[in-house]
């Protein structure tokens, strides 16, 4: 199961990289979202998938699953969510102000002469 998830993580990273290399701002943002999904899935896999009972005191099992990766993912998801929302708003505002979402036209050269 871990191998399968690792392959999925790889595919997610691959598509994220592809999207982030494109010129359209919206594709780039979707790319970053997919990248963070891949990272979150990776944490879950790295902690080991289901290894035993739920980590509750009442369950008197011989082994328990590690609850920590889930706590980490929860934190990371909230942060990624906030950043993506901010990014979308920023991109929209930049599009209104600059009139383009093509990264080629967003090069800057102030103070470069």
């Amino acid at each position: 199961m871990e191998i399968l998830i690792s392959v999925i993580v790889g595919i997610l990273f691959m598509s994220a990289t592809y999207l982030m290399l494109s010129k359209s701002l919206l594709r780039i943002i979707i790319g970053t979202a997919i990248l963070s999904h891949g990272a979150h899935l990776l944490i879950l896999t790295m902690g080991g998938l289901k290894r035993g009972a739920a980590p509750l005191l009442g369950e008197s099992a011989s082994s328990y699953s590690d609850p920590l990766p889930q706590a980490l993912i929860l934190t990371a998801i909230v942060i990624a969510f906030g950043v993506t929302a901010f990014f979308l708003v920023l991109a929209y505002r930049a599009y209104q102000e600059l009139g383009t979402d093509n990264m080629d036209k967003l090069r800057g050269n102030e103070g470069n002469d």
Partner: protein, 497 residues
Amino acid sequence: MINFLILPILIPLVTGVLLIFAAKHIMLQRLIAGLSALITVIVSVLLVKKVNNDGIQTLNLSNWDAPFGITLVSDMLSALLVLTTSIIALACVIYSFRGIDEDREKFYFYAAVNFLIVGVNGAFTTGDIFNLFVFFEVMLMSSYVLIVIGGTKIQLRESIKYLLVNVISSALFVIAVAYLYSVVGTLNMAHISVRINEISELGQPGIITVIAVLFLIVFGLKGAIFPLFFWLPGSYYAPPAPVLALFGALLTKVGVYSIARTYTLFFYQDGGLIQQLLTILAVISIILGIIGAIAYWDIKKIVIYNIIVAVGVILFGISAMTQDSLIGAIFYLIHDMNVKAALFLLVGIMAAITGTSDLRKISGLIKRYPGLGWTFFLAALSLAGIPPLSGFVGKLLIIKGGFESEHYWGAGIVLMSSLLVLFSIMKIFINGFWGTSRDYEGADKVSVKRMMAAPVILVAIAVFYGVGSEFVYPYISQAAETLANPGIYIDAVLKEY
């Protein structure tokens, strides 16, 4: 156990929340922001004293014992950096009273500054690797707001790039933490160090090297080392002077601190490959930074490229890993935070008077603004490390350490870089302050005297820090002691474990 060390995080946090509610009352905002910055400085001074007297302070949040809960750790290094951060925050807040327009002040400028300080102080204080990530995000989120606040075209354009680079580096951070967790099964930094030591007894496994390089990429993106500094000159150029000062002085240095912390605590066993990599990257950063600083004719750009030089010098000190070079690196780190903030604020004043940052359109400022000129001169000498000003001691010790550890080439380049830094910054002084005096439109509206308060404080500290090195030295060497012997840090955190 003591709750004291959380105050430099808590005070800006509460202030930031308060300021959101006071957004439309500018005077009230200034009062609250100034007062709380002052209180943070006082608390940080007390914290440094406390650490000096009683050794490393730790705080286990919610009483979960280390290594299970999140631990805040304040050793001398982090206490000193928290103090420096608080002083710079105070200076930037004072400067902003005059140096930033009212529209920005109304749109939560002071609140964002306070949240930024929460993130920076938190990153310096935390003893938990995932918590470090969270504080990084707090810091980055506020920096996104600060870089775009005002919404001019150049700011919007550059903040997109800044955000994209940092989102990617955050994802890499999560990935690096995930790998580390799967190998060592813990997140407490002291405990990670113990575990890595255990597995490395029979030679370091390759995965640790992979993780080390991943961390170097993550922190290198924040700290702007070669080859990951490409985003910095463009992005830092966009925001106004006080924001630029905060970014230039604090954000890159958080990356440098994180490299210092992780490389002395986690990855010190493998003396070979990783350290060599760090040395080479540091030296290349110095060279490329210098080339940029000399090439440009824009006062902001010149100082921005000097950030990259300084990061390289500090990292060279850390990578040499001798007692002297570590002391030198910490000396230089604190010096550089202080003097970069002063320089950015001074450059901001120059740009405000002349309405441009193109050096070729500026000349003869010293006739009308002698105070500004001489303060800038002092700051410039201090940056280049002319004795007895503050950069000297740090650079001396770094070079000494470099020679001791037989990095002759690197030490030589650090030495040469001082000269070229002096040249690049004197170029601003000679062309901008000397020569025929010109009339600038709108120069009369700028109240230079009031804006000068903050940089004068910072330059005074720089002078004291250099002249009074004898007084500062014990604190710095105590900080370097912890870096050189991770055992001290580990014992302090895991005492009951």
